[in-house]
């Protein structure tokens, strides 16, 4: 049993629907229902569910953007980092790539300019880009290159946990495969734990060791990849598999 990086205990969250305009009473809607799980160092955990099932709320809670929840979230390591779905919104359009990658180091402090530069170049190479990308703006990059840059920026602070929220669903299929390969390679090299959020069961199968299925804020089934895919227990899991044509 290796070390834990994250433990989520009985997390529930409510969302107050704003109905001021229609004159109805504010409704409390539960978006997360007693979610509990833990992640070990270096594992890839898949989180599968449809839009509106609470995947994104959960990731926001883990990252600390959502303060208003019940239960406990314990981090055993440094701050987690995140890769977003939309590669067009997650890079600051008015900054060069080098600047974006350098930012986490500047914020952390303790690096000389020369060290920072070296690390930025090193990361660009690791993510399959070249050094001259440091001088480019995000608008000069393709979707796949942007996502590579996002991965690079997220890994600059060497986190132990990376949350990937649908990192490939906005990309073309062939690019998807490349980005997934990159994620897997970096995962192997750096032994990061990845919480891989997706609605695409095929992609999840390729990436993950362990999978959780989420529906209406609840984790309805979890298990190893083979358990989920080849002997699903919950009706919803079966429905998902069927819909994906598996």
């Amino acid at each position: 049993m290796s070390d834990l990086v994250l433990e989520v205990k009985n997390v529930s969250s409510y969302y107050r629907e704003n109905r001021r305009l229609s004159g109805k009473r504010a409704e409390r809607k539960q978006v997360l229902k007693n979610v509990s799980f833990s992640m070990e160092a270096g594992e890839i955990l898949g989180l599968v569910g449809e839009s509106g099932c609470g995947k994104t709320t959960l990731s926001r809670a883990i990252l600390g953007f959502l303060k208003d929840y019940e239960g406990e979230i314990i981090h055993y390591s440094t701050k987690p980092q995140m890769i977003f779905q939309d590669p067009y919104g997650s890079l600051n359009p008015s900054k060069k790539l080098g600047w974006i990658l350098e930012e986490p180091l500047k914020n952390a402090g303790g690096f000389t300019a020369e060290e920072r530069r070296k690390r930025v170049f090193g990361m660009l190479r690791q993510t399959g880009l070249t050094e001259d990308f440091a001088e480019r703006y995000p608008s000069q990059l393709s979707g796949g290159q942007r996502q590579r840059a996002c991965i690079g920026a997220a890994l600059m602070s060497a986190p132990a946990l990376l949350i990937a929220d649908e990192p490939v669903s906005a990309l073309d299929v062939t690019i998807q495969a490349q980005v997934m390969e990159l994620l897997k390679r970096l995962h192997g090299e750096r032994n990061i734990a990845i919480l891989f959020i997706s609605h695409d069961l095929r992609v999840v199968y390729q990436m993950c060791d362990r999978i959780m299925i989420m529906k209406d804020g609840e984790i309805v089934e979890s298990g190893t990849r083979e358990e989920i895919y080849f002997s699903p227990r919950h009706e919803y899991t079966k429905l998902l598999l069927q819909a994906a044509g598996i």
Partner: protein, 322 residues
């Protein structure tokens, strides 16, 4: 080879591929004509073979908004019979959406030039007048788009939007239109059609909106339905339902469907014939299963290979008892 030249298909631009293409092309592009004649059961006698529903001949589309013209589509050839489901697959920038827009007659910007012919039941869509085009659009040719969020007018009730095509193309009375709208909404498998009829788009979920779009497109019983990535923005379970719905509608109403997607596995579920596009060129065409079994082009192989593979589930299912 002669066929190749006639159809204007050119080799992809990558270096060295000219040679490889010349070698591999005759087999790759051998028109699997047999599939053209394979129509759904019971339909064959109703179809007059002589007139193709849609015939695209050597279509070229160029952009002129920059100094150097940019080619979006180069020499596309496409034939569709009535009631056929054809899929176009390709990545973003391959020209598939541009071709779809051109076929729907929606590509009339000043900075775009189109060459070639798009014959819909023998009528050239590229060269007919606006009023003629308007008569076709919504009546014989309908289209649904990727974003169910933006393709419905947020300020109009669903019923009004479904009726719009009827208002323009038929002499139905108000009651007649309402009855027809409710009928198509029900056909699109929307529960509680009356309630949907009277609601605004923001009351509906993404899947329901896409169903409404399909209902609106089907209101006038079009002969050709163009679906441009209709399921990309939806969840998997909803995706499967929409695909099923399209299949059902096509079987009931003999509407031909041109299904555009970047997802080969979806196309495999829905279509009989598939066209693979890359960088504006049509590089492969054939029956779906045949293309899957023996892809003729490197690019097609890459596309198929990019579908994450899962070992045949039915064989393995049950082996992992818990």
């Amino acid at each position: 080879m002669k066929w190749l030249e006639r159809s204007g298909i050119r080799a992809p631009k990558s270096p060295g591929s000219n040679e490889t293409l010349r070698k591999s092309h005759p087999t790759a592009l051998r028109l699997r004509q047999s599939t053209l004649c394979r129509t759904p059961r019971g339909l064959a006698d109703r179809i007059v073979r002589a007139v193709m529903l849609l015939e695209v001949k050597n279509l070229n589309i160029e952009f002129h908004d920059h100094d150097r013209p940019e080619r979006a589509v180069c020499g596309l050839n496409l034939r569709m019979e009535a009631g056929e489901i054809v899929g176009i697959v390709g990545e973003s920038g391959s020209g598939k959406s541009m071709s779809a827009l051109a076929i729907a007659g929606l590509l009339s910007r000043k900075d775009i030039t189109k060459q070639g012919e798009i014959l819909f039941e023998g009528k050239d869509i590229l060269n007919c007048s606006r009023s003629e085009l308007r008569k076709l659009q919504g009546d014989d040719i309908a289209m649904i788009f990727q974003e169910p969020e933006t393709s419905l007018n947020p300020l109009k009730k669903v019923g009004w939007q479904v009726e719009e095509a009827l208002r323009l193309h038929t002499d139905l009375t108000k009651e007649g239109r309402r009855a027809r709208a409710l009928e198509v909404l029900r056909k699109a498998e929307l529960q509680d059609a009356e309630k949907v009829y009277d609601s605004y788009p923001h009351h509906l979920s993404g899947g329901m909106r896409q169903r409404v779009m399909i209902a609106a497109a089907m209101a006038c019983r079009p002969k050709l339905l163009i679906a441009d990535e209709p399921t990309t923005a939806l969840d998997v379970t909803i995706q499967a339902q929409i695909v099923k719905l399209l299949k059902k509608i096509r079987e009931e109403q003999h509407t031909a469907v041109l299904f555009i997607s970047h997802d080969l596995s979806l196309i495999r579920q829905l279509c009989e014939r598939v066209l693979v596009m890359q960088a504006g060129h049509l590089i492969e065409e054939g029956a779906v299963e045949e293309v899957f079994r023996s892809p003729g082009q490197e690019y097609t192989k890459k596309l198929i290979g990019a579908i994450p593979e899962i070992p045949a589930a039915c064989e393995t299912r049950g082996k992992f008892e818990r």
